[in-house]
């Protein structure tokens, strides 16, 4: 227990931030109505600014050298999403519900949780390129796999318009910021000082703002959920995915200790907010996805602390 607590100490400030948000809403210090807007603001402003800053300033060779890491994460996502989709179809879910289930089971929340946790690890600022490649993989899967699949109407066989999907994806601020960042990094343009400082002012708030807002969404209602889907999602995302990431990283790739830890930590992250939004908008399991997200937020801090001890 002592080892667990000392190992979890690097996570404690993040837990305190979540607690600030949680208690602010529970004690009516902050109105619940404001949360949706704050989450949207975070995803449309803070995360894109941070991503652009990190991408644009990252030496391109560092990102390209991280391809084994990106590949290992992509394999984890492919296995998780395929197995979850097939199993949920087998247990009677419709195509759209199964796709939403698969996206929630395989997409980690790397914006609100992944980056703050990575930054709080010892030497965390040197690990950001791993976060970046994982984010690129996640964005690619969401834009080019899950969104088209959720659009696909299996009753009336139709062809998904790839051009339209691409055009819609390009409108997403996070994707625009990533593409712009890559363009700046590859072209070798150096950003002016005032631009770096302005973006740093915004990105400095990512940890505090993201976690307090996320804490506001936490309720412990999921503990009393009788829906098997909620618990299946919690187990799949919170336990199976980190285990799979560990197995793939150790058996297929020769990752060093640090890469192994980052790989498992990012896989431990809770259900992605975008997965929950897609589930709400395009399937009937939005509520279950929301409850599972909250469940995995609580679970992820315990599992990351355990990973830190074991790895």
């Amino acid at each position: 227990m002592e080892a667990f607590l000392s190992s979890a100490s690097f996570l404690m400030p993040l837990v305190v931030l979540l607690a600030f948000g949680y208690f602010a809403v529970r004690f009516h210090y902050f109105k619940l109505d404001n949360i949706a807007y704050l989450l949207k603001f975070f995803m449309y402003f803070v995360v894109p600014a941070t991503t652009f800053l990190f991408t644009a300033r990252m030496p391109t060779h560092v990102v390209f050298e991280s391809w084994p890491f990106a590949l290992s994460f992509a394999i984890v996502v492919v296995i998780m999403s395929t197995v979850s989709y097939i199993l949920s179809r087998y247990f009677g879910l419709s195509h759209k519900n199964a796709t939403a289930f698969a996206s929630c089971a395989s997409m980690p929340n790397i914006g609100f949780v992944g980056l703050p946790i990575l930054l709080s690890l010892p030497n965390g600022h040197n690990l950001v390129h791993y976060w970046l490649v994982v984010m690129l993989v996640t964005l690619a899967f969401i834009s080019f796999v899950f969104v088209p699949m959720l659009r696909l109407d299996t009753k009336h066989i139709s062809v998904v318009n790839i051009g339209r999907v691409f055009a819609e994806s390009v409108k997403v601020p996070l994707i625009i910021a990533t593409i712009l960042g890559i363009v700046v990094a590859v072209s070798g343009i150096s950003l002016p000082d005032f631009a770096i400082q302005s973006l740093s002012l915004i990105s400095n708030g990512i940890v505090g703002f993201g976690l307090v807002c996320l804490g506001m969404t936490v309720t412990f209602q999921f503990l009393f959920e009788k829906s098997y889907l909620v618990w299946l999602l919690i187990v799949a995302k919170g336990i199976v995915m980190p285990l799979l990431a560990y197995l793939i990283a150790t058996n297929l790739f020769s990752f060093d200790k640090q890469q192994l830890l980052v790989s498992v930590v990012l896989a431990c992250c809770p259900v992605a907010g975008i997965g929950v939004i897609l589930a709400h908008q395009r399937s009937d399991i939005g509520y279950e996805a929301g409850q599972a997200m909250v469940g995995t937020i609580v679970l992820c801090f315990v599992s990351i602390a355990l990973c830190h001890i074991l790895l």
């Binding site: 109505d33 404001n34 807007y37 402003f45 002012l201 307090v212």
Partner: protein
């Protein structure tokens, strides 16, 4: 150091502010929704900064700069009293007069002062001066402003101190002063999260306010709001300059006194107005109107008066 280099230090503040403004003008974000950001600012970011300002100042530094305290008090009191008398003369109620006067004299130190610390080279050396100026504001808030806002004939008049404690900024400042006096180091488990929340000031403070600022606000300003704006953006910096010249302040103190006076009206006053059941739209509009002018003035002050901070 050339004026251009000195100006460039505060350009990031202007860029982030205009990012917020542009995002609302272009329809990327709806301005009315950004009141959620202001709520976050008033309930999380500003209290976190208030606490840290006192916590990171040593008591001995506080005592060393006491002369700065009374000078800032003088700079704050003159517009406060003049505008209060003028608003009272024009027939506004006691609550309105107090809030109007507070808008003309209370600078947004937790937001703009903190941004100065973040953006200027060696900005940390301004922390003791900022916390002293801020403590003067908190003192005026508790002693002069809040008593005038609380309904003395209401059923809960005996709970005056409880009402004061409803202001997050006051609770955080009191806690910060206690910590400063005790000189007990804060555990990293608490210090890191509070620091993390304080760093949200540029995001929620600048972008949030930038989204709400509209040039239309200048067209609908009432006479009293124009007076408040002039008092805050013109009279108060001029008084600060006169005081600094009259008392031969050194470079750092002079810059701090003028820069803190140029800051816009305090954004936490609208929360105070809301808590005291007063129409906070007047205060909110005035804060927004002073914000844009203050950003330009801060650039000028930085170009003219900023010198190396060591």
């Amino acid at each position: 150091m050339s004026v251009w280099i000195k100006l460039m230090y505060l350009v990031p503040i202007t860029v982030v502010f205009f990012l917020g403004y542009l995002s609302s003008v272009t329809g990327y974000f709806r301005a009315n929704e950004s009141k959620s950001l202001i709520a976050f600012l008033q309930r999380f970011s500003i209290p976190a900064v208030s606490f840290l300002l006192f916590y990171e100042t040593k008591f001995s530094d506080f005592v060393k700069h006491l002369d700065f305290a009374w000078m800032f008090a003088l700079v704050t009191l003159i517009p406060l009293i003049i505008v209060k008398i003028y608003a009272g003369y024009k027939g506004h109620s006691t609550k309105e007069t107090t809030l109007i006067a507070a808008s003309s004299a209370m600078s947004d130190l937790p937001v703009m002062g903190f941004l100065l610390i973040l953006c200027l080279p060696h900005g940390d050396s301004l922390i003791p001066l900022l916390s002293i100026a801020f403590s003067v504001q908190i003192f005026f808030l508790i002693v002069l402003i809040q008593p005038a806002l609380i309904d003395k004939f209401g059923a809960l008049r005996h709970l005056y101190f409880l009402k004061i404690l409803r202001m997050p900024i006051i609770i955080a400042s009191i806690l910060g002063v206690i910590w400063m006096t005790l000189d007990v180091p804060l555990s990293p488990i608490l210090h890191k999260p509070i620091d993390g929340v304080a760093k949200t000031i540029p995001v929620v403070g600048l972008i949030g306010v930038g989204m709400l600022v509209s040039f239309r606000v200048y067209a609908r300003l009432t006479k009293i709001q124009i007076i408040v704006m002039l008092a805050k953006c013109v009279a108060m910096p001029l008084i600060a300059y006169l005081v600094a010249t009259l008392f031969h302040l050194d470079q750092i103190n002079r810059f701090a006194l003028i820069a803190f006076s140029v800051c816009p009206s305090a954004s936490y006053l609208s929360l105070l107005a809301e808590q005291c059941d007063t129409d906070n739209d007047v205060i909110f509009d005035t804060t927004m109107a002073t914000f844009f002018i203050s950003i330009i003035l801060l650039l000028l002050v930085s170009g003219l008066f900023f010198d190396r901070l060591i």
